[in-house]
């Protein structure tokens, strides 16, 4: 509803006020007269009319002439009017690169995800006040710097779509660390994008990646301790969700998707098979590393190589990476050293990983591994 109002009014603040007005009228009227047959359309229409009234009162807003030229709307007679879906324009506005990344995330959650500002503040561990200020500043920048409200033209679309997907994936990853409502929200956004951009392969690939990864959520923690993929209780996996994810991946591939998210999703899909095809996984990680230049992906490639049977080669790869401050680098190295019976070195590497780790769940896991070495 908010997206429709913002689309119509071209103004975030005005749209929020109008939405509040509409809800207030509904709260007063619906219990008395019964809810209309299409509540969303009713709210949008009422919100629009309230906004038009507001604008008429504030004559100085001359740029809103587009609105004033519209014929007077009839509140209750418009119940069945189809409301154009303007969420797509809105997502490109929220994820505009002229806004800070944190702000893009917060705006997307607020306007498309339907989280209110104190929920977003809690999710990102900032005070409600800080988050409210950030959102106000963002809305002002959109309005006063002229950030457009539209789907970017074809020559800008690839870059801008990347920015949108990055925001959604960032939200998902925040949720994957344990705050699961954010993961749910990201998946909901992913579904909405796939519906709005049915021909973009990377949109389906991102949705596939999130669905397949999230399907293992219940098996990923045991009493707050992280459970490695190979030790997970597969009966806890959500198989329907994995199937939905694979269907999205198939769609992405059928559309010619060979991008970063398609690679990620293919990897997630292979990880959900039993037994896993480790040589294939190693090859996909290698391709992903080539595209992203990410040493973290190389680390995953090394783990896949080890699982495929060549622990020595994996160890050489791990030791060639410059990831001194990354605890997974040390824990992966420790695990490989353990497998080739270099126990003392393994112990030292686990120790280094423990010094760097932040999450309690991961610390417990590492302490367990270290204890098992003794």
């Amino acid at each position: 509803m908010l997206a429709s109002l913002i689309g119509f009014l071209g103004d975030f603040e005005l749209a929020e006020e109008a939405a509040q007005d509409a809800f207030a009228i509904a709260a007063e009227r619906w219990p008395r007269e019964g809810a209309p047959s299409n509540p969303r359309a009713w709210l949008v229409t009422t919100g629009r009319n309230r906004a038009i009234d507001r604008i008429r009162r504030e004559r100085t807003l001359t740029e809103k002439t587009r609105l004033l030229e519209l014929p007077e709307a009839m509140e209750d007679a418009m119940d069945e009017t189809p409301i154009p879906d303007e969420r797509l324009e809105l997502v490109f506005t929220c994820c505009h690169p002229a806004l800070e990344l944190d702000t893009q995330v917060a705006l997307t959650l607020r306007t498309l995800g339907g989280l209110d500002s104190d929920e977003i503040a809690r999710a990102f561990l900032v005070s409600e006040q800080t988050m409210a200020k950030r959102l106000v500043r963002a809305r002002q920048k959109i309005k006063r710097a002229g950030i457009p409200f539209r789907v970017p033209p074809a020559h800008l679309l690839p870059d801008r779509l990347d920015a949108v997907l990055a925001v959604v994936y960032l939200i998902f990853n925040e949720g994957y660390g344990g705050r699961s409502h954010l993961a749910d929200e990201a998946i909901r956004l992913g579904h909405a994008l796939a519906e709005l951009m049915p021909d973009e392969p990377e949109v389906h690939a991102l949705l596939a990646l999130m669905l397949i990864t999230d399907a293992r959520r219940e098996a990923r923690f045991d009493d707050g301790v992280i459970v490695l993929l190979r030790d997970q209780d597969r009966s806890l996996w959500n198989l329907d969700q994995i199937a939905t994810g694979r269907a999205a991946l198939d769609r992405a591939l059928a559309l010619g998707g060979r991008g970063i998210y398609a690679l990620h999703a293919a990897i997630a899909s292979l990880h959900a098979e039993d037994p896993q095809d480790w040589p294939q996984l190693a090859a996909l990680y290698a391709e992903l590393a080539r595209r992203t230049g990410s040493p973290v992906v190389r680390l995953n490639e090394a783990a896949a190589i080890a699982e495929a049977g060549d622990v020595a080669a994996a160890l050489v790869l791990v030791e060639s990476l410059e990831l001194e401050q990354y605890h997974y680098h040390h824990s992966t190295r420790a695990e490989l050293l353990r497998r080739v019976d270099r126990v003392d070195e393994a112990r030292a590497a686990y120790g280094r990983a423990l010094e760097l780790v932040h999450s309690d769940a991961e610390r417990c896991f590492l302490q367990q591994r270290l204890a098992e070495l003794a």
Partner: protein
């Protein structure tokens, strides 16, 4: 929307550029200046010739040099009337200073 594009020069020296690039730069600036909606500004003398003035407790403090570090100093500007920020960003990306280690700041102007 009206925007002011503030052109900051980077540290790239003219002599370091290829002959081809040296020929392209004036042509590119010319193309930017003749874009509909653009009101070209005047080039500034180098930041070494700047003087910065501050007032502290009623006392005027005058220092030699630009307000920011010399290498990031403002070198030129233009005005652009465009539909939206995307159009202004596109114009900014065509300004040679932006690809030569400098940057272009896009500032919306207040509606008068």
């Amino acid at each position: 929307m009206k925007y002011m594009l503030l052109i900051h020069h980077g540290e790239t020296q003219w002599e370091q550029l290829s002959e081809e690039e040296q020929k392209r730069i004036p042509a590119d600036y010319q193309a930017v200046s003749s874009t509909p909606g653009v009101t070209p500004g005047t080039w500034m003398e180098p930041p070494e010739l700047a003087t910065t003035v501050r007032v502290d407790g009623g006392k005027t403090l005058t220092t030699d040099g630009p307000f920011v570090a010399v290498k990031e100093a403002l070198g030129g500007y233009l005005f652009y009337e465009a539909d939206d920020l995307d159009a202004a960003i596109e114009l900014a990306s065509r300004i040679p200073a932006a690809r030569l280690g400098g940057a272009v700041e896009v500032r919306p102007l207040k509606e008068s």
